[in-house]
């Protein structure tokens, strides 16, 4: 019990120091939700993420492009689920109920993004973000806005949500 108490105490101290650190550094780049699209870690602005949940039941829709995995029902609302892997030319492994869905939305549209794993919320500083190289692919490369020093690829939720290729029938 005592040990648990000590551990909790240490953790509280660490968390408070992180917050203190964040308060100290004025030049915050932005809050992001990190997720895994094996083998890469991607991140997307947390302000566009409405909710995350486990992928329970997905209904595949015939006649849709490859990157549309299907439709899901969240609290009596139907969302289309987008698989970024084909778009980002990441190797596809197949879906399980271990996969997670990030529900993103803006004023224009809303849909789910498939992730292998949701890592958590993370704040990036301006210093650690670098511009992506210019020679990225035409398709998919347009969503990438930067790469952090830890290797996380930052995606633009705005661009994904406003992409005309993705928004087909809405």
């Amino acid at each position: 019990m005592k040990e648990t108490h000590i551990i909790l105490r240490e953790r509280a101290l660490t968390n408070s120091s992180i917050n203190a650190k964040m308060a100290e550094i004025s030049e915050l780049y932005g809050d992001y939700i990190e997720f895994l699209l094996s083998p890469n870690i991607f991140a997307i602005e947390s302000s566009f993420v409405k909710e995350v949940f486990s992928l329970k039941e997905i209904t595949p829709v015939p006649g849709t492009p490859q990157f549309i995995s299907g439709l899901i029902n969240i609290r009596s609302r139907i969302y289309s689920v987008l698989n970024l892997k084909p778009l980002l030319a990441v190797r596809e492994k197949g879906l399980t109920d271990m996969n997670k869905v990030l529900l993103i939305e803006n004023s224009n549209s809303s849909f789910g993004l498939i992730a292998d794993k949701v890592i958590g919320k993370k704040a990036f500083l301006k210093d650690e973000i670098h511009e992506p190289p210019a020679n990225l692919g035409e398709f998919g490369g347009e969503f990438i806005i930067g790469v952090s020093e830890s290797g996380t690829i930052l995606l633009s939720a705005e661009k994904i949500l406003n992409c005309k290729k993705i928004i087909i029938n809405q």
């Binding site: 968390n15 939700i33 995350v52 949701v118 958590g120």
Partner: protein, 496 residues
């Protein structure tokens, strides 16, 4: 061939020598016979000659007597007449002697029958002569003359003629005899000469034959001597080799004697070993019996182990099931952790939306998230541990299976062991018997060895004697060689 030659030669010799002997005998017989005959005729001639001589004497006497008578008649001198008478008297005496001698010669022989008349005439003459003398003595000269002229004179003449004829006859016979003798001598000579010639020829032939035979024989002998010499040399060398061999044998016998002694020692040692082997075999038999008992105990123990193994197997199966249950529970926990994490993320998002008011909530969300992380790590650890346990359980299952199989094998092995121990027991029994037999054999062997030792001693002595004998033989062979060489020299000397 050789035999036939020998026989032939012998017969030749016998024949030749017998011929020679026969010839000599014949010659001797002939010579003896001839000499006898010659002697006989010579005797006859001598006899006849003596008779002739006597007859001549008689005649001479008669003539002397007549002349004396005439002288007496004519002489006047009485002294002279007396001497004459004396002479007459001796003459008469002589004539008596002559007559008697003649008589003795003639007596009993037919061939002188004709001489009987001479005798008669002679006696008559003597008688007349006596008468005449008497008449002269008495002085009756006329009467005496008368007798003399008429009777004595013719008688004398007759006698003379008879004697003459006999003399002639005798002379003739003597001549005849001499001629015969000559003839006989000539014949004998011829015979003897021819016989001698034949003898000489035969002798020559025999000499030739003998010489040839001798040459042949000497050649053979020479050859034989050569062979003898080489054979003697070979014998000498062989004997030398034998000598060496015998010497080697002697040494070998000595070595063998030593070896036999060693073997005897070894036999003694092996006898002791056999005795101890017997004891060991008995001990081994006891051990085998104990081993049998132990095996039975082992079988029981194996059965116990088998039961224990079954129990272990069941326990492990149970453990495996419980492990699986734990795994399921862990999965549930992991799921819950995952959900908690999502919840934390959502809370964080909500907190961010709330802005400054949601800051405390954000801390709670962080807390939840780290709890979720912790549970996740814990479940991961549990999972790992479970995996390890699973592996161990699997290994345990495998080990149990292996153990069961091993126990089975063990059972089988124990059974085999039992059989082996049975066989071992039998074998030990046999070994005991064999060791007893070995022991008795060893004793016999030792006894045999005891006999062998003096036998080897005898052999040793015999071989030493052999060596000595061979040495003598060597000397003899050397002598033989020398003999051969000297024989060869002799043969060279008397080269035929």
């Amino acid at each position: 061939m050789y035999k036939s030659l020998k026989i032939k030669t012998r017969y030749q010799f016998i024949f030749g020598f017998s011929f020679l002997v026969l010839s000599i005998v014949i010659m001797t017989v002939i010579s003896f016979n001839s000499i006898t005959r010659l002697n006989k005729s010579h005797d006859i001639i001598i006899e006849k000659d003596r008779i002739l001589n006597y007859l001549l004497k008689i005649r001479t006497e008669q003539n002397t007597y007549r002349s004396l008578t005439l002288e007496i008649q004519t002489t006047k001198n009485a002294v002279e007449a007396d001497s004459l008478k004396e002479r007459m008297k001796t003459l008469v005496t002589d004539s008596y002697i002559i007559f008697s001698n003649l008589d003795s010669l003639i007596k009993g022989k037919d061939e002188y029958a004709s001489m009987a008349s001479i005798k008669e005439s002679s006696y008559k003459f003597v008688a007349l002569r006596d008468k005449y003398e008497t008449l002269i003595k008495e002085g009756k000269t006329d009467e005496a003359n008368y007798i003399y002229n008429n009777e004595l004179k013719p008688l004398t003449k007759d006698l003379y003629t008879i004697i003459n004829s006999i003399e002639n006859e005798l002379n003739n016979s003597i001549v005849e005899l001499l001629r015969e003798n000559d003839k006989l001598t000539r014949n004998v000579n011829i015979t003897l000469f021819s016989l001698g010639l034949t003898l000489i020829l035969i002798s020559f032939a025999m000499a030739f034959l003998m010489q040839r035979l001798l040459v042949k024989v000497s050649t053979e002998i020479k050859k034989g001597v050569g062979i003898l010499g080489s054979s003697a040399s070979e014998i000498l060398s062989t004997v030398t080799e034998i000598y060496t061999g015998a010497a080697e044998t002697a040494t070998a016998v000595s070595e063998t004697t030593t070896t036999v002694e060693e073997v005897r020692q070894t036999a003694m040692v092996s006898n002791q070993k056999a005795q101890s082997l017997m004891l060991s075999s008995q001990k081994a038999a006891d051990s085998a019996e104990r081993g049998k008992e132990s095996i039975n105990e082992v079988i029981d123990a194996m059965k116990n182990i088998d039961n224990q193994m079954l129990k272990i197997s069941e326990t492990i199966n149970k453990l495996s099931e419980q492990n699986r249950t734990i795994g399921e529970i862990t999965s549930t926990v992991a799921d819950i952790a995952d959900q908690s994490n999502l919840l934390a993320v959502n809370a964080a998002i909500e907190a961010a939306k709330a802005g400054e008011h949601g800051r405390g909530f954000s801390v709670v969300a962080q807390e939840i998230r780290s709890l979720a992380d912790q549970s996740k790590r814990a479940t991961a650890q549990v999972k790992e541990i479970l995996n390890e346990i699973n592996k161990s359980v699997n290994m345990a299952v495998g080990a149990t299976d292996t153990g069961s199989r091993t126990v089975e094998d063990g059972k089988r092995l124990v059974r085999e062991c039992e059989e082996a121990i049975d066989i071992l027991s039998d074998n030990v029994e046999e070994a005991t018997q064999a060791s007893i037999q070995i022991s008795s054999s060893n004793q016999q062997q030792m006894a045999g060895m005891e006999q062998i030792v003096p036998a080897m001693e005898n052999i040793k002595q015999a071989s030493e004697q052999n060596v000595a004998g061979i040495k003598q033989t060597q000397t003899a062979a050397n002598d033989l060689k020398q003999l051969g060489m000297s024989l060869q020299e002799i043969m060279e000397k008397y080269k035929l």
